[in-house]
Symmetry: C2
């Protein structure tokens, strides 16, 4: 057998026996445990850290939900399942998982009520001007590229970032409540347990796990199924080198200690297929506050390459994977304001020609790019990349500056999006598309709603949504 | 068991019994059969068509070899294993398979002698001006991006495209000789046999295959191993939609009837891992003859995006995957000559502004791009994309034209590069990196030397090279 897999025949004694064993207590694991308990199952949650929270507790805490949630309605926004569906199908990457997206959109309104029922508080106010978690305790934000081309023509824009009532990062708030709800549910939470192998019977069904606790082995039998919710692999350098070498250049890896791909590798050992392993969410939050969207982003050829008003995850993905992490946001004196995160200024010049020299861009390239941009911006137009009119202003007021968006000097925040292939029931599939009996996955251990191009809140959103699905189905038993 | 896999216990009778069973008689299969026979093994080759040749026989017939082959030396070119290695490591994609590339470079000189020994004739003359097979019967060409930036600074350029003595496509010549050599070797070649399943024993070792011939099933036992050489999956629309949706837009899929991914799916059913499934070779032969490299290629934003003198596979890869298949080669009256393949002219104008309007490019964008280009080209420089000096000429002689390089109107020729994971011994590996006993693969059923960015001849090159490796190792038995 491969490492990471054990035959049931080798297990002489089960230390614990339960219906559903959840591996990892982040947002997905909590959701799985709570709903498995709700369906009447016994649940054991094994977490390798001493307490729950995982990467979810270190996150911004945004959940991408829509279709007319109570929060959207209270804030005066109309949304429909169909608009949410169209936006996601168009925006999440070249090969969206249609059935999964459909299910996610159908269940989104109900899912938000479930999140509130776990005790997470939401203030029913909208915040404008940030693409992720706001600096205030407001509850609703635009967290993707809904308002920008081409998406604003594909689906009616609505803010779908649902954020707990806390300024800045609300991951701790979200996980405080989800972990408390997990405890209240009666799930047995065991910290300091690192799962090292899945246990399979003679029919290759997953019937339990082997975990390590303080150097000794513990075995847990799971009559209904094992749910892998261990996060992604952004902390595993070897896997990054194999799948996403560019991510190694990112200054920030958005991860708790656990995101080393362990759950993905366990699933693969049990015969699972993987998907989108080369995809990552790459945030480049240079256009925060939004006024900086009036700047012009250029690559090492002095060319624009994106509409600067789009979601900062799209900026990061393009800048890192297509432009090699070489980019600058050009501003003039009128447009400049201090960025929230990307504060390094690479160059300043009294003229664009001077700025171009300072940045070692090809002579004439920046002037040519700004020449075209300014000419159209003066008319409130951007025929090249179709930035929204409100962010169009000719850059003509010296001095000029270049905010450094190179990987060396700017914040690129990365986490992985690929993982185990699952179906809409969160069952883990083998390469032929058959479900592996007794094995489920949710969150970044799995390939989820996002197939490569991110919007804030999709990860916690599908983690909790499909975590619940996994918990309920595992509770039913085999 | 998944479809595509059978237990040995189910096989009541073996119709044939041999040491090595080769599945598919293209270049990789022939090489495997010949060398397995050379090592003393009994060999059965199963080919689903009525005769051998496969996609290899429809190809240009170029083999990418170097390090100082007898042909390179006879043509007066110096090359070294180290220069070939450095070029491949830098050029084949973001995650090159170092051990495989090292082995390929080490064995390249000997491998070419083997090819000649099979009877393939080579004329010891060099042809300049084409990036693949020449219109003459000359034997040696540049078939990659060796002479262009950045590669010419990384490794000393040498022509490494070895082409049989025949004008234009030499795939038929190559396969005529490799198939004849296979017959001479004493391998038993069975046409009209489509392999539908691999047969495994209780230890999951591959011990044979099940094939379909005219509607009835035949079983073949393979004591030493099964070698999968069935080609890629460019004819499988469902797999393309899953892995490379853009490839569906290409006018030409470079493939015989067999390239439906069958061998890859058989290997996966037996537990194999896959790699680079989202990668394809995309040829856009718009700069043939090479004089057209003096043109300027622009995207839908009116921007340049590549050094036009690079290998046409790099043009195609960038134009399709990064620019969405929207590109035009801008020429003036002095530079224009009739392209060999991409003959559609999208627009003609007496001025660049007129051309820009005709192409519906953003107003001013093309003029700005050509402004920068012409200014530097006049000095023999291209600081933006570093095209070689000999292809730099200001485009200032009207009328101007735009050669259509959109997927709708231009030849994009695609084949897939991803497949089963193999090691340097051509053994098929599972996701944990362990070899599946008795299973080998070569050619486009496997992920080979090329990890995404192509040079002509790499596919036939590694197919024949690692086909031989597979044949020899399988002949040794388990």
């Amino acid at each position: 057998m491969p490492s990471g897999l054990r035959s049931e025949r080798e297990i002489s004694n089960w230390d614990l026996s339960t219906d559903v064993c959840v591996v990892g207590l982040g947002a997905a694991g909590a959701a799985a445990a709570i709903d498995a308990r709700g369906a009447g199952a016994d649940v054991v949650v094994l977490e390798r850290a001493s307490g729950g929270g995982g990467t979810s507790a270190l996150s911004g805490g945004v959940l991408y939900l829509g279709g007319g949630t109570s929060l959207q309605t209270a804030c005066g926004f109309e949304d429909s399942e169909e608009d949410m569906y169209r936006y996601l199908m168009a925006s999440v990457g070249a090969v969206p998982d249609e059935p999964k997206i459909r299910r996610y959109c159908e269940g989104s309104v109900e899912h938000f009520e479930w999140v509130k029922a776990q005790g997470v508080p939401y203030k029913e106010t909208y915040y404008e001007g940030i693409s992720g978690e706001p600096p205030t305790d407001d509850g609703l934000v635009f967290s993707g590229a809904e308002q920008t081309k081409p998406f604003c023509e594909i689906a009616r824009p609505a803010p779908r970032g649902h954020v707990g009532m806390h300024p800045h990062q609300t991951g701790p708030l979200l996980m405080k409540h989800l972990c408390a709800s997990t405890e209240r549910s009666g799930a047995c939470v065991e910290g300091d347990h690192r799962v090292t192998a899945l246990v399979v019977d003679d029919d290759a069904a997953v019937v339990g796990v082997v975990a390590e606790q303080f150097g000794s082995e513990r075995t847990v039998r799971a009559r209904g199924g094992v749910v892998l919710t261990t996060g992604g692999f952004v902390l595993n350098d070897e896997m990054l080198r194999q799948y996403i070498p560019r991510a190694l250049d990112c200054k920030l890896r958005v991860a708790g200690d656990g995101d080393d791909g362990s759950g993905i590798r366990l699933g693969v050992a049990a015969g699972a297929a993987t998907l989108h392993m080369e995809k990552a969410s790459i945030s480049l939050p240079v256009t925060q506050p939004w006024g900086l969207k009036r700047g012009v982003m250029v690559n090492r050829h002095g060319q624009r390459f994106i509409n600067e008003d789009t979601y900062y995850g799209r900026l990061g993905e393009r800048a890192l994977f297509h432009e090699g992490g070489r980019a600058w946001l050009i501003v003039d004196d009128e447009v400049f304001q201090e960025p929230d995160y990307c504060k390094e200024v690479a160059a300043v010049g009294e003229s664009l020609a001077e700025l171009e020299r300072e940045l070692s861009l090809p002579p004439g390239s920046l002037e040519a790019t700004l020449g075209v941009y300014n000419r159209h911006a003066a008319n409130g137009e951007d025929p090249v990349f179709e930035k929204q009119g409100k962010y169009l202003k000719p850059l003509t007021t010296p001095p000029y500056g270049a905010i450094d968006c190179t990987t060396e000097n700017c914040l690129y925040a990365a986490f992985t999006l690929g993982g185990l292939v699952t179906d809409v029931e969160a069952r883990v599939l083998d390469p032929e598309g058959a479900a592996i009996p007794g094995l489920f996955a949710a969150g970044r251990s799995s390939a989820g709603v996002c197939a490569g191009d991110y919007s804030s809140g999709l990860s916690l959103g599908d983690a909790t949504f499909f975590g619940r699905v996994a918990g309920r189905l595992a509770a039913r038993g085999r």
